[in-house]
Amino acid sequence: MSANLSPLLLEAKAVAKHFGGVKALQDVSLSIRRGEIYGLIGPNGAGKTTFFNCMTGLYVPDGGGFVFDGTPLVADAPDKAAGRGIARTFQNIRLFGNMTALENVMVGRHVRTGAGVLGAMFRNAATRAEEAAIRQRAIDLLHYVRIEERADDLARNLSYGDQRRLEIARALATDPKLLCLDEPAAGMNATETEQLRDLIEGIRRDGTTILLIEHDVKLVMGLCDRVAVLDYGALVIEDVPAVVQKDQRVIEAYLGA
């Protein structure tokens, strides 16, 4: 596996999070290498989304921490996480419903651009150039995820599959080093899942590392270079799919009899 030789992009070190008495995460340590598709699976309530939220700064971990791209991630700063190069999608799609698809992606460029209020008011040359670049990049990204013909529709009027794609385009607009997808295939039919698989592979080919939380075991095993399994907030195993699939603990915990 070529991905195994590449340097680490994200390292989780003994990350812990509890809600009252519930230990949602217990000392979870794992590492994601640059350029790989990394799967995070586990039964419902195993702590996958909690892990995501800790990493992207929506939750403050109670113990441990993350090292991203060589330096520690500041906890409780979702906007800074995006600035560092971590982008995410949400399990229940969170788009800006009353903005057009194009505007949704344009907002994604916010963190990589700098025009302020004065720029907006006076529309100087620099601001106009930046605005044109934002628009062009957003159009390109809509093409990339193949929903360019829906550019001027309100996000809320897009079909479910297109909304998933738009959310990915918006995340890509932040120029992420690590793209985290939270159950992107949920509620998709076989054809849509197949198209999604192609999209994810394409994104990786274009140089973005991917962390994938997914329920669809077939998709994860077929797509991911390495897989981690969570159960009751603890890491069960972290290895290549072939090994994970045969692991007795995983079969018991997750895959069932």
Binding site: A82, A87, F90, L95, M99, E103, R123, A171
Partner: protein, 353 residues
């Protein structure tokens, strides 16, 4: 929107300009009172567009907006009246008023950053009342605001020797005070419209709209929601401050009574009724809600006399009754406002099928 396209074409702009110039002279035929009503309509356009930044773009429900208007009005009143014997020029007071209102906006914004919707509305409502009560009681131990009596003999707007109060001859045309203010206000309103349009289609404006739509998603893509919300409050408040200054100068008199909760609600109603977040809609809302009550004030009495031959209902209460009914009807049949943005309009038509 066909109408929108027309007003962006050259003949459209020309026609709109001609109408805007002719309007105060037409209104003057009915008496200077109508010109003053026109002045207030434009002033409210200005205010409503300021509030539109906070409510329409950033989605922060602000029920205390009039407080910033009050800050601007009292800044002008205190620095340009015999009350303290100060007579500062406009270029010093107006920016100062805007700056103080902006500061008040940040002051209100910072403790309310985690609040949304109803909760934010209650806190801002309280803030508006606090400012009004302050103005009412700040006449002792040191007399700052002159309390409920208010401040009188406030200087009018003037540029050098050119005063906006009283009649003047310009190019052989006699212009009354309210007519001169009209042109000043139209110029300011055009400026605020341009700023609004530009903000809406900018990086900052899009970030505001993203916060309005989904704050968590906005954070996740790297928007600093704290700073941007404060910026929205500050920008909206500055517009309120400028409007307050002009109001003060135009009236020549301010008292805390002018800054009651009902005023905040009226401005919010202009934004919502016209079409939240859609600039032409907000302008329409502001003009309608200022002019309609006045038309009713002058129209309801004579109408009753003509139809029934006597006064059946007191015109003043009937006026508010009709006004309230109109609001209810609009919200029932045009829930997105009278002139919503094209996207929202299409949306409503689609779901209406």
């Amino acid at each position: 929107m066909k109408m929108g396209q027309f007003f962006r074409s050259m003949p459209g702009i020309g026609l709109a300009a001609a109408l805007l110039i002719a309007l105060p002279f037409v209104a003057a035929l009915g008496g200077q009172a109508w010109v003053r009503i026109l002045d207030f309509a434009i002033l409210y356009v200005f205010l409503a567009l300021g509030l539109n930044i906070v409510v329409g773009l950033a989605g922060l429900l602000d029920l205390g907006y009039i407080a910033f208007y009050a800050v601007g009005a009292y800044t002008w009143a205190l620095l340009a009246s015999p009350h303290f014997g100060l007579h500062w020029p406009i270029w010093a007071i107006l920016p100062l008023g805007a700056g103080l209102a902006c500061f008040a906006g940040v002051l209100l914004g910072s403790p309310t950053l985690k609040l949304r919707g109803d909760y934010l509305a209650i806190v801002t409502l309280g803030f508006g009342e606090i400012v009004r009560i302050f103005l009412n009681n700040l006449n002792a131990p040191i007399n700052v605001t002159n309390g409920p009596q208010g401040i009188t003999l406030i200087d009018p707007v003037s540029f050098g020797a050119f005063k906006f109060s009283g009649a003047t001859q310009i190019l052989g045309v006699s212009l009354s005070g309210p007519q001169k203010y009209y042109f000043l206000l139209v110029a300011l309103a055009i400026l605020v419209i341009i700023i609004n349009v530009r903000l809406q289609n900018s990086r900052v404006g899009r970030a505001w709209q993203a916060i309005r739509e989904d704050e968590i998603a906005a954070k996740a893509i790297g928007i600093n929601t704290r700073n941007l919300k404060l910026l929205a409050f500050a920008m909206g408040a500055s517009f309120g401050g400028v409007a307050g200054g002009i109001f003060s100068a135009m009236q020549g008199f301010v008292s805390p009574e002018s800054f009651s909760l009902i005023e905040s609600i009226m401005i919010l109603a202009m934004v919502v009724l016209g079409g939240m977040g859609h600039i032409p809609g907000v302008i329409l809302g502001a003009v309608l809600l200022t002019v309609l009550p006045e038309v009713l004030r002058y129209g309801v009495g004579p109408l009753q006399m003509a139809v029934f031959g006597k006064m059946l209902v007191d015109p003043e209460s009937l006026r508010m009754l009709i006004f309230g009914l109109a609001l209810v009807l609009v919200m029932r049949f045009k829930p997105a406002g009278l002139w919503p943005s094209p996207e929202r309009q299409r949306e409503l038509q689609e779901t209406g099928k």
